[in-house]
């Protein structure tokens, strides 16, 4: 509430997000992002006006009632207004492995809905917009002098289902090399387990 820590709010429905924004106004704190935000597209203009990001799924919907109104265009609609800020969300061990594909799906659906979304904008949904919502945009989220050297080299256009990361650097150090598995971190858990030798 003192603004020292970014406030992240898990919220699905548009009306509940609106109530939370009212609450934030009443008590003088700022919401950095709504997470899950399946109905964020219904209040995209208000989120943009108040500088609130939406950390959203590309296509998860309907697994519970609050998620029944999910649409493919959620990210694109939230991103569309001036100052709109969409982030690809994942709290799934499966989805988080392929955030590039999630962004690609959302970009494609937004384009088909008539929005002009070049890939250099959609890539922000998995990079700089996330950094902004986390309050670390000064250090990560873009490739520019002064930023930390967290870099992915892809084997092709990352907005493709066939794309794989070749090299991943964190703080300038090689953290993953697809062609040299020995450079790839392996968990303690899998050591010595059947089928885990690679």
């Amino acid at each position: 509430m003192q603004g020292k820590v970014q406030v992240q709010v898990d919220c699905y429905r548009a009306d509940e997000m609106a109530v939370m924004l009212d609450l934030a106004k009443e008590f003088g704190f700022k919401v950095a992002a709504f997470h899950h935000g399946v109905e964020a597209y219904k209040i995209a203009d208000r989120l943009a006006q108040e500088g609130v990001c939406g950390a959203l799924w590309a296509d998860w919907w309907g697994f519970k009632l609050e998620a029944y109104d999910g649409i493919w265009e959620n990210l694109a609609y939230v991103d569309a207004p001036k100052d709109g800020c969409a982030i690809v969300h994942s709290d799934s061990d499966e989805g988080i492995q392929r955030l590039n594909q999630e962004a690609a799906k959302a970009m494609s659906r937004g384009q088909r809905a008539g929005l002009d979304i070049p890939p250099e904008r959609a890539i922000r949904w998995v990079t700089s917009n996330a950094a902004k919502a986390l309050g670390i945009a000064g250090r990560v989220g873009t490739l520019e002098p002064g930023k930390m050297a967290d870099v992915v080299v892809w084997n092709r256009d990352p907005f493709s289902v066939y794309a794989l990361p070749d090299l991943v650097y964190i703080d300038g150090a090689l953290a993953f090399d697809r062609n040299h598995p020995r450079a790839t971190p392996r968990s303690d858990f899998l050591l010595g387990q059947p089928g885990a030798a690679r």
């Binding site: 309907g62 697994f63 009632l65 999910g70 384009q111």
Partner: protein
């Protein structure tokens, strides 16, 4: 109906045909070729876009589960008698989930517009081992869209069923053998015998033992071996669902021609049964000669369409592209008895077709038109209604509105 100038993925020995026409009459494909003439036919210009058979939505709760966490909309399990376990628990292999199928489910409309035209509508055992009967539905909106030959008995083995049924895989196989002995002819029950099944259950289970199809939800390699031994002992046609460790027994599966329905996005050991789970599972099984199909287990029924993305990921991890498309079309058609021409585009095929905006396995591609039985399906759904209601102002319509 004539679809003109498409890139036709036939799923036959003809492979992919460029600039090809597909003529449909009476709900079936009658001709595939160049410059086909059909006076009076309704024509769809494909302009070189890809045309595939309709896709298989995997092992699914479509039509029997609208919102998974809203129990009033879910009909996947029969937990009658004394609940899922404990004394008095009576397994119900006679439970037939197709009787609960709702063709008007919004989840069907959403998935159909994504190119899913058929799916195995399956019960969910909720830990009771004997899940019951399912069947393949063609998602054409009719109230009984089930293919009789596709009927399958579903069994939950391994970790997932352990809590409900005896706390041991050994107990699962014990109960399965007991049910089998009860159901088999020639071993009449005596008064006072402890019976596992109801009379109807015995009758129904017996049908599956006489060369019927049973799908076993099982991940661990050694459990797959046990399942195959059970199936061989009793003349059952097994299908493995899940099969996280299936590639470890690929040779055995290939030799017995046992198909696997797997989750291509699975790459982490969510359970001890899934140690060694890898996105190369599909490629390794296919290389060994195992019939592979895809399902989407992790995010529930509403995203059955995510099998398409999974197929693309499998390609990125070594599965040949043609094999990935077969896993979504001709393989499930073959495995579940939909007919020799089903899941393909050839004379005699049911005209269940999808015209795509681009590579059908690519995440940026979308289904532009879906036909089932030659009938053009609505590309609108509850989701497109919401999309259009909340479309940002200044945009009247997308650049690529679907053909009416």
């Amino acid at each position: 109906m004539l679809i003109r100038n498409a890139r036709v993925h036939t799923l036959t020995t003809q492979g992919t045909l460029e600039r090809t026409d597909v003529l449909v009459r009476g709900g079936r494909v009658v001709e595939v070729g160049s410059n086909l003439a059909a006076p009076g036919a309704q024509v769809t210009e494909a302009n070189g876009r890809p045309l595939t058979p309709g896709l298989f939505g995997g092992i699914s709760g479509l039509g029997i589960s609208e919102i998974e966490l809203e129990s009033s909309t879910v009909d996947r399990a029969a937990l009658v008698d004394s609940g899922a376990s404990g004394p008095g628990f009576v397994p119900r292999p006679e439970f037939d989930v197709t009787q609960a199928f709702n063709p008007d489910s919004a989840a069907i409309g959403v998935n159909r517009a994504e190119g899913i035209t058929f799916a195995m509508i399956a019960p969910n055992a909720s830990g009771t081992l004997f899940a019951g009967q399912g069947a393949v539905a063609r998602l054409d909106g009719s109230s009984n869209p089930f293919v009789a030959a596709s009927r399958t008995q579903f069994l939950d083995m391994g970790t997932s069923a352990t809590d409900g049924v005896g706390f041991s895989r050994g107990a699962q196989f014990m109960l399965l053998e007991q049910a089998t002995r009860e159901a088999l002819p020639g071993k009449p029950l005596q008064a006072g015998d402890v019976r596992l099944l109801t009379p109807t259950g015995r009758e129904v289970f017996a049908r599956y033992l006489a060369g019927g199809r049973m799908a076993f939800a099982v991940d661990r390699a050694v459990d797959i071996r046990q399942v195959l031994e059970f199936a061989a002992r009793h003349g059952v046609k097994p299908v493995i669902v899940g099969g996280a460790q299936a590639s470890q027994v690929a040779t055995l599966l290939a030799r017995s021609k046992v198909p696997v329905v797997l989750e291509p996005l699975l790459a982490l050991p969510g359970t001890f049964d899934q140690l060694g789970a890898s996105m190369e599972n599909a490629a390794q099984l296919q290389r060994a000669g195992v019939p592979v199909m895809f399902t989407h287990l992790s995010a529930g029924t509403n995203q059955a369409h995510k099998v398409r993305q999974g197929a693309g990921v499998a390609v990125a991890h070594g599965l040949p592209w043609d094999a990935a498309l077969a896993a979504l079309t001709s393989t499930p058609a073959d495995v579940f008895g939909l007919g020799a021409e089903a899941g393909r585009i050839m004379p005699g095929s049911p005209a269940d077709l999808v015209l795509w905006s681009g590579d059908p396995l690519e995440v940026t591609s979308v289904a532009e038109q879906v036909w089932i039985g030659g009938k053009s399906q609505s590309m609108r759904s509850r989701q497109t209604e919401l999309r259009d209601r909340y479309r940002p102002t200044g945009l009247t319509s997308g650049p690529a509105a679907p053909t009416p």
